[in-house]
């Protein structure tokens, strides 16, 4: 591509592998780390999109995984929040080995289905399980950066209180227009006054909008959570085409 011609993110074009440079590593939780990348020639992205990350060993063996982008389109760098999977091939390298200044191969942005732009409006109902919060955080950051007051609610399920990613930032973002609700499904301390069970029908009715409000719904997390929540929402009368899903697997 010649310089000076800005690519349109959705125009037909091949995806090139690019060597990104790690500019910062943040430890969000004991197991989730954020890599902030400077990607030369990055064409920009939409909230909810992901990148493929490729690692190549000295013997030529390759491993490739998809990671959601956590940063909003308004930022020039690309932030990936990676949950470390103990026996994984890729995530331990990304969380434990990579440091600022290191290079890593990425291609993207990828995805035109699980995306949200301010212009699509709301209300917005975001449902996350574990590290499934990452693409939803990009949407909330996009909303904040753009100064949007689109009503939004986040329902975020984690096993432990320590496992909540972006907890401080979510506390700052929370407002009358942005509700943040957690449910801690395992090992919640006695002092925890919030939900302490898996997301169920009653919780969706209490936290989310009714189907009559026609919210745009994004559900991201492990497959069992995604399938259960999507099924419950459709049973509650939500239009299946407005309930968008993305499954996160522990593929390391």
């Amino acid at each position: 591509m010649s310089s000076g011609i800005k690519a349109i993110p959705d125009a037909p074009q091949r995806l090139e592998w690019r060597v990104a440079r790690v500019v910062e590593v943040r430890r969000d939780t004991p197991t989730a780390h954020t890599l902030v990348l400077n990607v030369p020639g990055w064409p920009g992205h939409r909230a909810g999109q992901h990148v493929d990350v490729r690692l190549v060993a000295d013997d030529g063996y390759q491993a490739q995984r998809s990671y959601s982008i956590a940063s909003p389109p308004e930022e020039p760098t690309v932030a990936l929040t990676v949950e470390r999977i103990g026996d994984g091939e890729v995530s331990p390298y990304l969380t434990d080995v990579l440091h600022a200044g290191d290079g890593v191969e990425v291609r993207g942005p990828i995805g035109g289905y699980f995306v949200w732009d301010i212009a699509q409006g709301g209300p917005l109902f975001l449902v996350a399980g574990g590290s499934g919060v990452v693409p939803l955080m990009a949407m909330l950051r996009h909303r904040a950066c753009a100064g949007s007051r689109v009503p939004a609610r986040l329902l975020y399920s984690t096993r432990t209180l320590d496992g909540i990613i972006y907890r401080d930032e979510l506390a700052r973002l929370a407002s009358p227009e942005l509700g943040v609700t957690y449910t801690v499904t395992r090992d919640a301390p006695a002092s925890w006054t919030g939900y302490r069970r898996r997301i169920d029908r009653a919780m969706l009715e209490e936290v989310g909008w009714s189907a009559a409000d026609a919210p745009r719904v994004y559900v991201c997390g492990p497959t069992p959570l995604v399938e259960s929540v999507a099924t419950l929402l459709v049973e509650l009368g939500h239009d299946p085409m407005r309930v968008k899903t993305e499954r996160f697997g522990p593929t390391g």
């Binding site: 995806l15 992901h50 390759q62 998809s66 497959t223 993305e246 499954r247 697997g249």
Partner: protein, 92 residues
Amino acid sequence: MQTEEMRLDGNAAGGVLRDIFARDMTAALATCIGCERTSPVGTLLDYGGDMGVILRCPTCDTVMLRVVVSTPGWFRVDASGIALLLIPSQGA
């Protein structure tokens, strides 16, 4: 349970599909030849591993699209499980 836990979806296959079709395919709509239900490609169930992509219908489990990327110089695409593929001609 292990298989179910490992199952991803067509969103994760977006990079490989983009490689082949040179455009985003996750927002494309695919009609299953088995149950005739139409689903966004991003919601199809992905059972593929490092060898490629196997996308199944979320309703009836029919294999809709199979892509093998390990044949040097070729992408092998078997789309015989898709009755109709609607691809947005501009960004969704």
